[in-house]
């Protein structure tokens, strides 16, 4: 589904990703771990198509298409979803209104019929209950004044609503209390299907207890320096990144 080859990415002329190769098959969940500043969020932004992240070398193929050639909203319509590390506030735009506009924009772009407000509301409510997102939150301006954990839960609510085929979760677990972590993990697990792939960026083994990955990659200084099964997370927890990075060098 996703095939990243020798990817080099520069921001403001500074190279951040330095030849990254990664392949994710449909139905798989891959975790990406790595020290602060290693380029995890950069990778997620490049996949989502944020401007200012220049691909200087390499390729990203998504379902056989050159992903880099698509505008961010086209990627979204084709099922690329990024739960952001720092969800953005949009004053004056109610959460519900935002969800409806985004969902219908994606549908329109895929040539599907738009949904009316009532249908969207029903769908949102069904997902919101499971994630403990209150009705009151849906009426408030998007992310404005939401706590860290509320913002993250809302990201997962959007993922559940849009039903993407490639979901990238950038540190969705940070800022969540134990109960919320479980809710979010359940939300993610319920979306695990043979057609859907996920890239889960995290610092903590704890999340991977709930969302058990098929594969773990360690990103350091813009490159994948170690890979392994779920037991790699335990090793990381025990040894720390420094040792792993050193071992890899």
């Amino acid at each position: 589904m996703l095939d990243i080859k020798n990817l080099r990415v520069a921001v403001d002329g500074k190279e951040i990703l330095k030849g990254l190769t990664l392949k994710v098959e449909a139905g798989r969940v891959h975790a990406i771990m790595g020290p602060n500043g290693s380029g995890k969020s950069t990778l997620s932004y490049v996949l989502a198509g944020r401007s200012g992240y220049d691909i200087t070398e390499g390729s990203i193929t998504y379902n056989g298409e050159d992903l880099a050639a698509l505008a961010p909203e086209e990627r979204a319509a084709r099922g690329v979803f990024l739960a952001m590390q720092y969800p953005v506030e949009i004053p004056g735009v109610t959460t519900m209104m935002f969800l409806k506009s985004a969902l219908n924009a994606q549908r329109r772009s895929r040539g599907e019929l738009e949904l009316d407000a009532i249908t969207v509301l029903k769908r949102v409510r069904a997902k919101a209950a499971a994630l403990n997102v209150s009705e009151e939150m849906l009426k408030r301006a998007l992310n404005v004044g939401f706590s860290g954990g509320e913002k993250k839960r809302l990201e997962i609510l959007q993922m559940a609503l849009f039903e993407p085929s490639l979901a990238i979760l950038d540190e969705t677990d940070s800022g969540l209390d134990i109960d919320a972590l479980r809710l979010v993990a359940e939300g993610v697990n319920s979306l695990r299907t043979p057609e859907r792939a996920m890239l889960v960026i995290t610092h903590y083994q704890r999340l991977l207890d709930y969302i058990v990955p098929d594969r773990i990659h360690v990103l350091a200084k813009g490159r994948i320096v170690a890979e392994g099964g779920k037991e790699l997370a335990l090793e990381l927890e025990a040894k720390g990144y420094e040792q792993i990075v050193k071992d890899a060098a």
């Binding site: 989502a48 198509g49 944020r50 401007s51 200012g52 505008a71 961010p72 909203e73 990627r75 979204a76 319509a77 979803f81 990024l82 952001m84 720092y86 969800p87 953005v88 506030e89 949009i90 004053p91 004056g92 735009v93 935002f98 506009s101 985004a102 969902l103 924009a105 994606q106 772009s109 301006a141 959007q158 849009f162």
Partner: protein, 484 residues
Amino acid sequence: MSSAALETKDTVASLGEKYKYGFVTDIEMERAPKGLSEETVRYISAKKGEPDWMLEWRLGAFRRWLAMKEPKWARVHYPPIDYQDAYYYAAPKNTPKKQSLDEVDPKLLETYNKLGIPLSEQMALAGVAVDAVFDSVSVATTFKEKLNEAGVIFCPISEAIRDYPELVKKYLGTVVPVTDNFFATLNSAVFSDGTFVYVPKGVRCPMELSTYFRINASETGQFERTLIVADEGSYVSYLEGCTAPKRDENQLHAAVVELVALDDAEIKYSTVQNWYPGDENGLGGIYNFVTKRGDCRGDRSKISWTQVETGSAITWKYPSCILRGDDSIGEFYSIAIANNFQQADTGTKMIHLGRNTRSRIISKGISAGKAQNTYRGLVSVYGKAENARNFTQCDSLLIGAECGAHTVPYIESRNPSARIEHEATTSKIAEDQLFYCLQRGLGQEEAVALIVNGFCKEVLQQLPMEFAVEAQKLVGISLEGSVG
């Protein structure tokens, strides 16, 4: 939602073109000879079948105007206007004096349909009565009967001058005097039509009143005149909408609106102004020089202005409140959008004369392209205005690097008990907000529209529901092409 509201939504949803109102209706016109002279004034007055007192009033204004100079203090630039090179009266042939809609030229009705104004029973369902002014003449007023039952007068001002001369004489020119300013004086001399509303004592007007102004003829100025009087304890909500065809020439629009609220009366006046703004290169567009003023003449009266200004090449407009009555309230909610080469200089004046008077100003200015957007506001507290209160908030949003936003607040206080608060912010659409929207599937323009509508929310909320939807779409359309 009512069917008319749905219809409005549908019409709006079907907008494809940037300026969908840019069509011209091919209809035979009757015009005054080109240019401005005493003869022109007499011609207009005669066409309207006006009484002598009205003609004299106009001539007085005209003589006064000859000695006046065009104001130059606003932050707007335009080549000199040749007042002799325009028509001051244009009317569709054979339209006046219609008793019912059936008699109106079907082409005109079609025009209004294109504009999304269903002049039909559906408007009644929505509780809206419409008076439509096409160039210089009021074409059809709907739902007169229902309003008549309530005792509300809602008619073309030309008709009011004939049928209710005492009321008109009593109030016309009492809020905006004939000599007020260059454009208002010009209007007083040559105004062709407009709307008159009188709401009697204690009556809550049973429906939203609405006027659509349309400039169709070329080289024609439009000078409409609106007078709304809310008698003691009454309430009325009034909405005006404006559009004009695309033309390469600039057309002058100089309207005057006067509002009078007596004791305990309330007037809510909303405008969605979408005059043709000119093209991407600054060619054409309406020069909109408008004087709007409300007089809170009675104690505990309230006047609230809400405006959404998206059109016009130049906007020069300061809807104001004179807070004469004790405990009276003035409000001004404004969204002014300037894109491409548009120039907007708009704001308000809150004149506190009475005790315990309160005013509130919320202004949202959005600039894009090479546009210049100025908020200019005066809050003035007179010596006798004990305990006057004002709150002003001016927020500017910039899209792109070539536009400008300017805030020019004037504050005068001659009473130490006054409390005046002023807050101002200037911001840009943040890249991360835009990216977040795009990532969730919204297109560039839709994302900008969404963010800007969020920015304007406090003002949009003030509009009657049906029109808020239209205004939101308009906000998006006027900013098309501003990012990217």
